[in-house]
Every structure is written in C-alpha cells, then in structure tokens.
Amino acid sequence: MAVLVFAENSQGRIKKGALEAVSYAYAFAELLGEDLEAVVLGETDSNPSETLGRYGVKKVFHYDDADLNDFNDQLFTAIVADLVKEEEIPVIVMAQSYDGKALAPRLAARLDAALVSGAVQCPVKDDNGFTVRRSANSGKGIETVLTHRDTVIISVKKNSFGLNVNEADCEVEEVEYDIDMTSSIKIVERVQTTSKVSITEADIVISGGRGFKGPENWGILEEFAEAVGAGTACSKPVSDMDWRPHHEHVGQTGIQIAPNLYIAVGISGAIQHLAGVNSSKNIVVINKDPEAPFFKHADYGIIGDLFEVLPKINEAVRKHKASQA
C-alpha cells in the first residue's frame, strides 16, 4: 500500500511537470497516511532519488533500461499495471502531459480504475470514494467528481498545484520487467520544432495576435521572450496565416496553457482564445482597443499601440536585468 507517482522521464530528466505531479501525490499520500513511491521508466542522467527525494518520494522503482527511453503506451501500461498489482497500490498519480494523456486512460481501462483527469486540487476523502476538483468546459468551469473504484488514477493539470519541497530519505530499487511485446508502433524520428522554452512548461508566455500586422514584426515579442526566458505563443489566425508555426497556437483548438504569467499582445480575447489561456495565474493584456474583451480577464492592462508599448517594456526589462546583475 502506497501512493505511486509515475515520474515521467523526458530523455533522461525528470521535468518540472512530473515534479508537480510528485508534489501533488505527496499531499495525497499525507492525507491517506501512506508512503509516496515513484516509478521511473528508462535511463536517467542522474540517480532519480536525488530529484525525487527532494519532493517527498521514499522509494523509486527504476526500470533502468534503454528500451524504455521512448514512450510506448502499450508497454508502459503493461509495466505500470504489473507493478501496481504486485505492490497493491490503490492510487496512481501522473502529470497530464502528452505522455500522461496517452498512459492514464489506458492504465485505467487495464486496471478498471477510476480516472480523474486534469485535477486541480488534492482529493478529499468521502464515505464513498474521493471527491476531486478538475478543470472542465475548456477551463470555463470546475467540476467536482466522485470516484467509484478501489483503484484511483489522477492526472494533474499543469501549473495547477505547484512544486513543494519535502525532503525524504529515498531509496532506489532497480527493477526489470518481464513482458514480451513487439510493439506495432515504431518511433522513427523525433523532430524538435523549437529550441526555445516549451509553452506548456514555461512560467511566462508572451503571445501575439493579429495586431502584429505581419510575420515580420515579431522581433519585439521575441526580444522580450529571450530577455526573460518566456515561451512564445500566438492566436489561431496568426498560425493559420503562417505568420507563426502551428505549435505556438494556443486556445480552444490549440494548446492549452496555464503559465504563471501570460502576456497577450494585439489579441482581442475571443472566447475560443480564452479557453486555452484562462487558467494562467496572471494575465497582462496590451491592446489599442479599450473595448477588447480580453481586458475583462486581465490582471494588468495597457491600452495602447503595441509597437510603442512593447519596446518600452523591453527597455525596462533591460534596465531591470542590468540592475540585478
């Protein structure tokens, strides 16, 4: 009996999103009075107990095997399901990441578990199960669900819980799997479309809309992003017109993000755009139209021409950085 967190291994590293799931799982384990254990699949750059112990993991099951460096939903499901059965684990937690979205439902079906996806708060114990708050209606609502199975799987919405350090003595158990599976899916290539900060992971995202007038005007936005280490995003029409690449498109039909700070520049704030960014903790809106709907959802607003406003901000960022150096 323990809470198990699937600590996603991204090419050797356990990234922030996974550590947020660990923090969430720690809080849940505390609530249940159970230990927190983690499963790590594939080779890691360093001993996984170093990172995971900081966030409260007592024991890591590490399948240190090069064949597991690439995600495979069928194989990963089989391995984690076997471990869960072997260790009689009642609760599994993971990040609602790209891989988490493929693994969690498969695992839930395999284990006949109750899956709560996109959880935004630690569960509460109820006579009949757990109640958990999750994001619904594309961030426009919050749903509280009740679980009806003995095994519960929770995927944690990005940036909804945060990281909490809880130092623990962490041991690693090296384990091997005994599953014979020839996968019918092969990864032939991994293409990196951006060398920059990924917008789902970034703390700060700056985003541009049609107000930029054309693809040639993005320099001032990129300058800001570079200076503060922000990810860059855009509205749908901007990516539809190929001013910016598809993977920057945020919104209802694009990527959903929840950074600490979202800066929307020259974006009107259409409801479909908001659906992808309304979980951001702080929103800054820069728009020349005081009636732009985005201002209703903003924490900070600047009504003005972006081509004048953004350079002023960049100038202030330079000064700010210089004063810190």
């Binding site: 939903d73 439902p105 079906a109 009806h148």
Partner: protein, 245 residues
C-alpha cells in the same frame, strides 16, 4: 480504409458556460451544439482517405440520446457514409469507451478516429480506453497522418516538437489541428445526408467509474490594473515586485 469516427456532441465554442442551479449539469438553454472541433479533424481525414483511394467507408458514431442526431447528420453532410447512435447518456469516459469498443469489436475498422479531447469534459480519456479495451496501438494528439503502403505514418505532438511514428493498422488515433482542415458542408452534402443511414443501437452494460458531484464557475477576476501606455515600462517593476519576472 474502413474508418470509424467517434464524435462528441458539445456546446459551440462561443458558449458562455452556465450551470443549472443545482450545479449538476450545464444549463443548455440557448446553447447550440456542434461536432467536437478536434473530432472534426479526424472526420475530415477519414473522408479524405476515401476520396483519395475511392475505396473504404466512413462510419460516425456518437454515444448519446436522440438530441445528438442533428450533430451526426452534420457529419454525414460533411461526407461520412453512415451514422451510429448508441442510445445512452454518456455518463463518464469509461462508460462511453466501453460502448464504443463493444460496437467496434469484430467490425475490422482500419482506423478508429477521435478528437484529442472533448471540449466539455476535456478528459482525453475515451480514445486511450478504447485502444486498451480493443488491445490496439494508440497514437495520441496526431498532427499528421498518411499511408505508405500498409504502414501508417503519423506525427504525434510532444513538448517542443513531434515524433514521427510508423504503425500498422488497425490503430486508434486521436486528432488535432494539422491532420486536416475543417470543411463546411455544401448543399449537395446536406441533401444527401438526409438519405444516409442512421442506425440506433442499444447500450451494453457498463458502470460508471466517476460521477459528477457538481459544477461551478471559477472565481471571477478581481479587476484589471491599468497602466498608461507612456508609462508601460513600469509594468516590469510591478511584475518583478510580485515575483513574476
């Protein structure tokens, strides 16, 4: 290619979300329903397969009451050949996944298409569950799909890029932007859709794994602090003071 396209019947993307007073469900008064926008990418890709090769078929399926039939009809107008409605309230993802798998089992579909998520539940759970129930490979969040002989070449989105995957068929694919372009049904499509078959199947047994206790709206923003454009630089200080930069 023989494709099954599973579509969700969801509130239009412009809907201002309101819940009923008891908080148990969406207040549907004045709400228009549409095919899930992500599901529609899968639908169009399936139709393109048929157009490109002149062979195969496209079946659309939705688990829902009779109110979902106009949504299925719209999928027929866009170009699907036949529609299936599984007559049940879509109680939770696991229940829906079980209904879809029970329908699809043994029917030898080459592709089972989904959207990457429904825009009401945003769970991304039905496709993976169907893949597991049917013991099929699953490619999630696909942004590209083409055939090379018998091999499906897919691009799956990952953080900061994508993976190029080769898969055999049958395969379960969840779709998003990039895999195809939405289509607006034309008059001919709408007329033809009226004559296309719509089968209604009764649901199989299935127990829910999670149930809704209540819905609520997120707390409203406390209000916007405005900064004069001449003074735009002071934003940086304000954000830095809050530890945001």
């Amino acid at each position: 290619m023989k494709s099954l396209v599973c579509i969700s019947h969801v509130p239009d993307t412009t809907t201002k979300i309101k819940y009923t007073d008891d908080g148990k469900s969406l207040d549907t008064s004045g709400v228009t329903f549409i095919i899930g926008p992500y599901d529609e990418y899968g639908l169009v890709r399936a139709i393109e397969f048929k157009e490109q090769t002149g062979e195969g078929s496209v079946t659309v399926l939705c688990v829902g009451g009779s109110q979902v039939e106009p949504t299925l009809r719209k999928a027929l107008a866009i170009g699907a050949d036949s529609a299936v409605r599984i007559d049940a309230n879509p109680l939770d993802g696991m229940f829906v996944a079980k209904q879809i798998s029970d329908y699809a089992r043994g029917k030898e579909f080459d592709f089972i298409f989904f959207g990457k998520e429904s825009i009401d539940h945003n769970a991304s759970e039905v496709p993976g569950m169907v893949a597991e129930y049917l013991d099929l490979p699953f490619v999630s969040q696909a942004i590209h799909l083409e055939m090379d002989g018998d091999t499906a070449i897919l691009h799956r989105e990952i953080d900061g890029g994508y993976e190029v995957l080769h898969s055999s068929t049958p395969v379960v694919v969840s779709c998003q932007k990039g895999i195809s372009e939405w289509r607006i049904p034309n008059m001919r499509g709408i007329m033809m859709a009226k004559r296309k078959p719509m089968e209604v199947c009764s649901a199989t047994e299935g127990a829910v794994a999670v149930s809704t206790e209540r819905f609520e709206l997120p707390p409203p923003k406390s209000g916007c602090i405005y900064i004069a454009p001449e003074d735009a630089g002071s934003l940086v200080e304000m954000l830095a003071d809050k530890g945001l930069l």
